[in-house]
Symmetry: D3
Subunit: 284 residues, 6 copies
C-alpha cells in the first residue's frame, strides 16, 4: 500500500509562461522514455518478480516509488509553463482578438481544449502514452539492461530538451531529473556489476559536461547523482546492491538516503475562460 504527503520532490522555480516549452516537456511525462513509462515499467517488474533474490526487486521498487514523485513534478512543471499562457500576446506571433489564439500556434492544442492549460498523458508530438512501452520480461538480466537503456535515454532526451528553452521553470525541473536519472542509471548499472560486469568508463550516458548544465551543479554537490531516496516505511534490501563505489566514471559512493524535505505545490488559480473549475461558475 502507498501513502502520500503533499510535497513536491523538488522546487518549482517561477518564470514566464512558455507553452511551446510545455509542449516539448510532455516527452518527459508521456513519452516513450518519460516518467509514466518508468513508473509503469518498474511497477510491473516489481509485481511480476520471480525468485528469491529480492534485493533486486527491492532496488527496482525503490526507483518505482520515486517515479511517482517525478510524474507529479513534471505534471506540475507543465502546468506552471501553461498557466496564464492564454492571454492575448503571450508568445503570440500574429495579432488576434481571440483570447486563446495561442492554442492554434506552436503548442499542443489539447493543452487548451482538453486540459484547461494543464498537463496531458501524451508525448511531445501529441501521441498518447501506450502500455506497449512497458518492458517486463521476467528475465532479470534482460530487465536490468532495458532499465539501463531507459534511464540512459531519459538523461539523453532531457539533455536535449534542456537546449530548447532557457525558461527557468523548465530548466530547473530538467536539471533535477537529469541528476536523478543518472542516479537510477547508476542503480541498474551497479545491479549488473553484482552479476560480474565491469563498465569501465561507459557511464554516464550521455557523457555530458556538467558545466553546460549549471542548474545541475547544486544537485551534484548534494550527492544526488549517487543517492537513492528511500520511500519505504518498512525494511528493504535495496542497500545490498546500492552501496560501494559508483559504477560511473565520475565515481563517488552510492548511498541510500532520506528523501528531500519536500516543496510546496504552486496554486493554480481559477481560469474562467476555460470554465475551470466548474465551481467558479456555480458561485456566480
Amino acid at each position: 500500500m502507498y501513502f502520500y504527503k503533499e510535497d513536491l520532490i523538488n522546487v518549482i522555480v517561477p518564470d514566464k509562461p512558455d507553452p511551446a516549452a510545455a509542449k516539448v516537456l510532455q516527452e518527459a511525462l508521456g513519452g516513450r522514455f518519460g516518467e509514466m513509462r518508468t513508473l509503469m515499467q518498474f511497477s510491473f517488474q516489481s509485481a511480476n518478480f520471480r525468485g528469491k533474490a529480492k534485493q533486486y526487486r527491492d532496488l527496482i521498487r525503490g526507483v518505482f516509488l520515486e517515479e511517482l514523485s517525478h510524474v507529479e513534478l513534471v505534471q506540475t512543471t507543465i502546468n506552471q509553463l501553461l498557466n496564464g499562457s492564454g492571454d492575448i500576446g503571450v508568445g503570440s506571433v500574429g495579432e488576434s482578438d481571440a483570447p486563446l489564439h495561442i492554442a492554434t500556434e506552436n503548442v499542443n492544442p489539447h493543452h487548451y481544449i482538453m486540459g484547461a492549460q494543464a498537463s496531458l498523458p501524451v508525448d511531445a508530438a501529441g501521441n498518447p502514452w501506450t502500455g506497449a512501452y512497458v518492458y517486463s520480461h521476467g528475465n532479470l538480466v534482460a530487465d536490468l539492461l532495458d532499465n539501463l537503456v531507459l534511464e540512459s535515454t531519459g538523461v539523453l532526451q532531457k539533455s536535449r530538451l534542456y537546449e530548447m528553452s532557457s525558461n527557468k521553470t523548465f530548466r530547473e525541473t530538467l536539471a533535477f531529473l537529469i541528476v536523478r536519472d543518472n542516479a537510477h542509471q547508476n542503480a541498474f548499472a551497479k545491479a549488473l556489476e553484482t552479476l560480474g560486469v565491469n563498465w569501465a568508463k561507459l557511464f554516464p550516458v550521455p557523457n555530458y559536461d556538467i558545466n553546460k548544465y549549471p542548474e545541475c551543479r547544486k544537485y551534484v554537490d548534494l550527492g544526488f547523482h549517487n543517492a537513492q531516496f528511500n520511500f519505504r516505511l518498512d525494511p528493504t534490501r535495496i542497500g545490498e546492491i546500492f552501496q560501494g563505489e559508483s559504477p560511473s566514471r565520475n565515481k563517488g559512493e552510492l548511498k541510500v538516503i532520506e528523501p528531500p524535505q519536500g516543496y510546496p505545490v504552486p496554486e493554480l488559480p481559477d481560469m474562467p475562460n476555460e470554465h475551470s473549475p466548474g465551481l467558479y461558475d456555480l458561485n456566480n
Copy 2:
C-alpha cells in the same frame, strides 16, 4: 511524495491456475475502465486542479492513492492465475508434448512470450493501455460526472467478469474491487450532491443483488462500501465531502477510515522454462 509498505490491500485466495480467467481479468488492470485508468485519471485531475475548493481535489486524490494498491492487487491476482499454467495438461484441450502449448489456446499469448506467466498493461483483448483513456478537463462538474461513469462502469464490468470463472482467486479479488468501486462511486456521487444533485435511487450502478456475489458480503459487513481509506500522512479535507448519509439507495453513513491491515504478497517461484529470473541461469 509517496511512501510504501509491502502489504497488499486485500488477500489473495489460493486456487488452481486459470489462464483464461487471467486473460479476461486484464480488463480490470489495463482496460478502458480498469485500475490503470482510474490511477492515471485521478493523478492528472489532482495535479491539474484549479481554484480554492480543495476539498474536491483531496477527495479525488484520496481515491487516486487507493488505486495504486488496486493496480498492485490486480497484477498479483493475474500472476497467481497464470503461475504454473504452463505445465502439460493444465487447461489443455488437445494433446501436446510442448510445455507451453497452452500459450496457443484460449489465453493471451503475451502472458507467456513477454511476461513469464505474468501480468501486462493491456486489456482482455490484448490492446495496450492508452493515455487517450484519461479524462481530465479541468471543469469540476464534468470531471466528477466522468469519474462517476468510470467507477460505475468499473463495477458493471467486474460484475460481468465475475460470471466468467468460478476460480476463487479470481472471484475474491473481483468481489473486493466491486465493493471498493462502489465506495468510490459513492464518493463522486456525494461530491455532486454537495453541488445540489439529488440522486434518488439511481445508485448503485449496476443495481446488483448482493446475494449473487457471496464473496462481497464480508466486505459489505465491514462497511467497505461506505468507507474511504485514508492514505495521507498529512491533513486532508476529504472528510468535508465524504461524510453523512450515503448517496446510494443502500444508505448507511460515509466514513473516512484507516486502510486495511495489509496482506502478504505471494511468492512467485523461479520458472526455468521461461528463463525467469536470469539469476536462476547464472547460478547453474
Copy 3:
C-alpha cells in the same frame, strides 16, 4: 440532413447463437474493409468533393447512404449471433458453473465485458476501428480506384467469412452484402468507364461462382447486383453514371431503383446477468 425509418435493409434469419461467428463477423463492421469504413470514406469524399462534375459526387453519396443501413444490419446480425450465448453449455468446450464462461473461449471477450452480448466498433481481431482507414484524397480518379479496391476487398473478405460458419443468421447477412458490394463495385467501375477505361472481364473481384453461395441467388434474381437503391428525398444525378450495361462480366443493365420494403428489427430481451438494461434493475 438525414431521415430515418425503423426498417432493416434485409431480413435477419433466426438460428442458434454462434459467438465465434460473431467474433469474425466484426471484420465486416469495424474492420479495415468493413461497413464503418465505407460509411466514413464515402461521407468524407462526398463532403470534400471539388468541382462541377457532381454526378460523381452523387454516385459516391448514393452508396454512402446505403452504408448507413449496412452498419445497422451488421450490428443487428452480430447481436443476434451473441444473444443468449452466455448460458452454460452454448458453444462451451469445457465444463464450468460460471454463466459467462464462454467469454473466456473462442470469442471476443469484449462482447461480454463491454457490450452486453452486443456489437462493437472493432475488427475480427479486436482492434478498434480507426480514422486512418479513410481514403479521401480529392483526386477523383484516385478516389474512385480506391473505392473499387474497397468494395472488391469487401466481397473478397465476405466470401471468406462465409466459409467460417454455416449458421443461417450469419450467412444470410453475408450473402446479401456480397451481392450489394458487387453492385457498389459496379458503380465505381462504371464511373471509371465513363473516363475511358474498358475493364474487359476483370470484374467481379473475386470471380466467385454464384452456385457456391446459395443464399446469394435470390438477391441476384432480384437484380440487386446491378441495382443502386435511391435513398434521396431530392433530385440526384447518380443516374447519369449508374445506367447502361454493367461493367461486370456477368453483364445486365444498371438501374437506380427504390430501396427494399424494409424488415423488422428483432427484439433484444432484457439480460439480467449482464445488468442490461439498467431499467430491469430499477423495476425490481
Copy 4:
C-alpha cells in the same frame, strides 16, 4: 433505413481562410468528444438496445440522427476554412515562393497532403478517430450518464475552441453546435430525471454566460436549446421523455419540433495545385 436531402442543418457564414482554426476545429469532428464519436456512440447504443423501454432507445436514436447532420456541418466548415488557404501569403509567417508553404506551418499538414484542403477523420493534434472512444455498455443508466458527460464535454470543448479564432465561419458553426449540444445535454439529463434524479442547478455544463457568445443568441431565441429535431419518417416515442420543463437552470419547455429548413452546401472549386479533382486534369 436512412434517407437524405442535400441541405445543411445550419448556415455557413463566409469569411477568410483560416487553416490554423481548421486544425483545431478537427477536434469537434474527429476528436474524442467530437461529432464522429456522438454519431457512432448513439448508433451502437440504438442498435444494441435491450428490453421494452423503447422510449429511451428512441431518444438516443433521435440524437444520433441529428449527429449525421453535425458531421456534415463540421466537415463543410473545415473545408470552408481551408479553401484557398494555399495561396502565397495567406497566414504565412515567412516568405516563400512555394504555393503550399503554409502546409509546413501552424496547420495540420495532412489537410494539404491527404485532403486537398479538406476535412479529415482526425482530432486537433492529428490523431485518427478510434472506435475505442465509443461507450455502449448496455446498462441504461451507465449509458445515459456517459452520454451526459459526452454532450457536456462537447459544449465545454467548443466553448474553448470558440476563443481560439474570431473567424466568422468558425464561430457561427461552433455557436450553433454549442446550443444543440446543450439541447442534447438536456435530453439525457431529462431521461435520468425520469428515473428519479433531481439535477438542481447543475446544468448546463459548463455554466457559460450566453452574452459571451453573441452568435448563440439567435439560436437560443429560436428555442433550439430546449428542442429536439425529429428526423423520423415513422412514429417515435421520443416525446414520452423529451417533454415538460427543462432540467437546466435556464428552464423553458422541452419540445420535439421539425428540423430546420436547410441551408445550401457551398461550392468547392477545382483546385489545380492539389490535382483536385482528377476531372480537371482529364479535361485539359
Copy 5:
C-alpha cells in the same frame, strides 16, 4: 537473400537546412502511402504469393527491391534537411538563447528529441508507421489494384509536397520519386492490362504537367518513367510483363534496365549538442 552496395539510388543536392520541409517529407517515408508502406506491402505480397503465375510475383518483388533504396534515399534527404538546423537563428521565428529552440516551432519535435536531427519512422503529423497499412490479400487482381492506388497516391502526395518548399534538396528527391512512382504505376497498370483491361488515357494519376516540375525533366529524358531497374542477381520473369507499350497516355516503351550507377551518401558530422554519437563524448 539480400546484398548491398553503399550507393544511393539518386543524388542528394545540397541546400540550406529546412526542418519544416523535413517534417512534411516524413509523409513520403513513414506515411500511409510512403516508402515504408510500399516496401512492406510488396515484401508481404511477394512472400505470400500463391500459384504458378510467377511473372506477377517477380514484378511485385522487382518493385519491392527498389523500395529498399527509396527508404534509404528519403531517410538521407530528411537528415540533410535537418542537419545543422539546431543552430540559433536557422529558421527561427522569435529570438532565443536556447540552441535547439527551433525544436519547439514548426517542426516535428521528435526530430530533435529522439533522432539527433535525423529521420524517424513516422508521417508528417508525427503518427508512427503501422502494419495496418499493408495490403496483402492473396487475390492477384485485388492486390494489383491496391498497388496501383498506392503508387498513384504516392505520386499525388509527392506532387503536393513539392509545392511546400522550394528547397533544392527537398525537391530533387521528390522529383526523382515522382518519376519512379510513375514507372511503378505503369508496372501495375501493365500487369492488369495483361488480364484484359484497357486504361485509355486514365494514367498517369495525377495527370500532372511535367513542365511544372522542372527537376523531373532529366529523369523523364533518361526514360526512368518507363523503366524498371533490375536488382536481381539471378533470373527473373519480370520482363514477361514489363515490356511493350506503356499503359500511360504518355506512351513510350517499357524496359527492364540496369540500376543507376549510384551516388555517395553525404557525411553526417558529429553533433555534440545532441550527444551524437557517443564516441564523440568518450574521446574527450
Copy 6:
C-alpha cells in the same frame, strides 16, 4: 542499393499445418522484438549514423542486411504452418461443415480474412507492427545498448515460443534464429567491449542450455553463433569490431564469413476457397 537472389537463408522443414503455432510465431515477425523491428531499427541507425567511426555503422548495417532475410524466412515459415489448415478437421475442436471453421478458433482470424492463409505484419496478439518500436537516438552507446536488449529479448522470446509447439517447421526456424540472434547479441556486446566494457559471464541472455534445443546444435557446430554473414558487395569495416574472442561465456572466435548457400522457397499452391490468386479464377 540492394540486390537479391531468390534463396532462403535457412531450410523450411516440412510438417503438418499448425495455425495456432503460426499465430504465436507472428511475434517473431511483427512483434515488438521481432524481425521487422530489427530490420527497421538497424536501417534507421545506419542511415542516421553521425561521425567518422564507421566501423560501428558497418556493424549495424551488416546485421540489418541479414534481417531482410530473416523477415523472408519467418514470413515463409508462417505460410507453411498455415497452408492447408482450412480443410475440415485440421486442428478443429468441434464439428462443422464450414471449410474455414478453423478461423474462428485458436488462431489469428486475419490469417484467413486478410491473408489467404498467409503471414501478416502483426504480433502474436494481432496488434499491428508500429514505428514506435524503433530506437534510433543517434548516441552510439545508447543505440548499442538498446540493440543488445533487442537481440537478447529476441532470443528470450524465441526460446519461449519454441516450447509452444513441437511442430518441426516451427522449431527449425526458431532454432536457426535463436543461434543467429545470439551471434547478433555477440556483435553488439563486442562493440561495447571495444569501448571498455567487460561482460564477464553475462551473455548469452537468456543463459539457455543448448541441449534443450536439439535443432540448434547443428548451427552451433557450424559456428553460426560466433559468425557474421557478409552481404556486402563492396568493402566494409565490420571486421574491425567483429573479430577476436567472443564476449559470450561460451567463448570461441568471432568471424565474418560468407552467407549460407541458400535454400529453395516452398511453392504455395492456388487456394480456390480463399480466391487466391485471382488468376485461378480468370482461367476458369
